[in-house]
């Protein structure tokens, strides 16, 4: 028995197959939840965002066009759901971080204590990265979405995706080197670098690209 593609399942759903969409949810729920968790940094918001993503996908199912892969389309919906959730909840919260939320990094060869603690620190630092950079890093570095697909998901040029990923990593490096609990009153995010680097505050983040040029 061959396993139907995502696109075939969506088509079946649109023809009235009552279980096709549920199958799509089952296929993608873990990935979409994980994506939301990495973006939002806490489980409760990630669960809400994942639910909203699938409901939005259900509502928009008839607008899916085969120009994109189903997963790309779904990622875009999920990213929007996650960023909407972040706006509803204010800045992404750090309070709910725990080893499990950090995905229990159990890197082979890691020493006792370091793997999980480091994963928590990485997620904590990631949550500090300005949202549009964070989303790009999560998609491209964690979920290994190709830059071209990430450009479709984020609806920005490929060069913008690369730049955001780079700057996201840079901000992540800064926060890893300088975790917030050792310097709680840090006034703004310093994105240091060669001339031409701008300085952003986490509070001023926006989903608008700061590279407005189009391809």
């Amino acid at each position: 028995m061959s396993i139907p593609s995502d696109e075939a399942l969506l088509a079946a759903h649109l023809r009235g197959d009552p279980r096709a969409f549920g199958e799509l949810v089952a296929r993608h729920e873990r990935r979409i939840y994980g994506l939301c968790l990495r973006i939002l940094g806490n489980r409760e918001d990630a669960e809400d965002a994942a639910q909203e993503a699938f409901l939005a996908a259900l509502r928009k199912a008839s607008s899916f066009r085969r120009a994109a892969a189903f997963s790309t389309w779904l990622y875009r919906i999920a990213v929007n759901a996650a960023t909407d959730q972040a706006r509803r909840r204010g800045r992404a919260r750090l309070a709910a971080l725990d080893p499990e939320d950090a995905g229990l990094a159990v890197a082979p060869g890691s020493e006792l204590g370091e793997a999980v603690a480091t994963a928590v620190a990485v997620q904590a630092a990631l949550t500090q990265v300005p949202e549009e950079f964070r989303v790009a890093v999560v998609l491209c570095d964690l979920y290994r979405v190709p830059y071209a697909d990430a450009a479709q998901i984020l609806e920005v040029p490929v060069g913008t995706v690369k730049s955001r990923v780079f700057r996201g990593r840079l901000a992540l490096a800064e926060h890893l080197a300088d975790p917030p609990d050792t310097e709680p009153a840090r006034p703004s995010l310093r994105v240091a670098g060669p001339p031409g680097t701008d300085t952003r505050s986490p509070a001023s983040e926006s989903t608008e690209s700061d590279h407005p040029r189009q391809e």
Partner: protein, 285 residues
């Protein structure tokens, strides 16, 4: 050093999509420019640190919650699906995720997590558990008891350790690694009350988050409790270790004791096999 590469150039350089000439230019610049070299190095380190983040498991109950939400939403749409509801042949609910590194022990770690869900409830139910021993019936009961309120408890870490695990190595690590210490402390402060604060959500027992490996691991705590000195009961689970114990692949439960909070014990089981009797126990001093 004139003409630092800008972020776009460095990003392209790191992404590997520069031509040979651009690459050589950037490399030549980095060789002579400490600030750019450090920038690129720190970005590389950040990227490497991301590899520590595994794809998280689906939280218990989320599958059912999503399915219910989708069903409810579908029921309100103007074009209701009318085809007879076939029994869904459960295909791979978790498709392969090639982009995530998947350590061999990942399934076991997921199962340990599920096991962690039940633990505060086991603590809470004290005498019921201390008589439970390590049999599978106890594990089944524990799961049932835990399902109404898993969320606060589902954060028991799993550490993988290369090489031998002994009470001494654990002690040294707890002494020298503040983060390991913090993990222990946070586990010790996780009271049964904290675990019951989220009872408003109910989950069905066969939630999608459960792993097939779960039953093997759910009885770690009852088995440890059964073997424990009664004066130390109830045990408070702190974390799991996967490593070797006297040359044997082992899953090790690390506990503190509710009546004796400063006490730390190791409970050694054959790897992934908590239904087996405790192989060994050591007190960490």
């Amino acid at each position: 050093m004139p003409d630092h590469p800008d972020h776009e150039q460095l990003a392209a350089f790191q992404a590997g999509d520069v031509d040979r000439r651009e690459r050589l230019d950037v490399e030549a610049h980095l060789a002579g420019c400490t600030s750019c070299a450090e920038l690129v190095a720190s970005v590389g380190r950040a990227r490497a640190s991301l590899a520590l983040l595994e794809e998280p498991d689906l939280p218990p109950g989320l599958h059912d919650r999503l399915a219910a939400a989708v069903d409810a939403e579908a029921a309100t749409t103007p074009e209701p699906a009318t085809a007879p509801r076939a029994a869904p042949g459960r295909r791979a609910r978790r498709p392969a995720t090639p982009w995530y590194r998947r350590p061999v022990a990942w399934g076991a770690a997921a199962a340990l997590l599920v096991a962690a869900l039940v633990i505060p409830f086991l603590n809470q139910s004290g005498p019921h558990v201390t008589t439970a021993g390590g049999d599978t019936g106890a594990a089944g009961g524990a799961r049932e008891a835990a399902t109404p309120a898993p969320s606060a408890a589902a954060n028991l870490p799993v550490f993988r350790v290369q090489g031998e695990v002994t009470a001494d190595t654990v002690r040294r690590r707890l002494d020298t690694d503040s983060r390991a210490k913090a993990a222990l402390n946070s586990a010790a402060s996780r009271t049964p009350q904290a675990a019951t604060g989220q009872g408003e959500r109910t989950f069905s027992p066969d939630a999608a988050g459960a792993s097939a490996d779960a039953p093997r691991l759910q009885s770690c705590l009852p088995a440890a409790t059964a073997a424990a000195d009664p004066a130390t009961r109830p045990l408070t689970p702190a974390f799991f270790i996967e490593g070797n114990y006297q040359g044997r692949a082992a899953t090790i439960l690390v506990t503190t004791s509710t009546p004796q909070p400063s006490r730390v014990d190791l409970w050694v089981f054959p790897r992934d096999s908590c239904t087996s009797p405790v192989l060994a126990t050591e007190r960490v001093r």
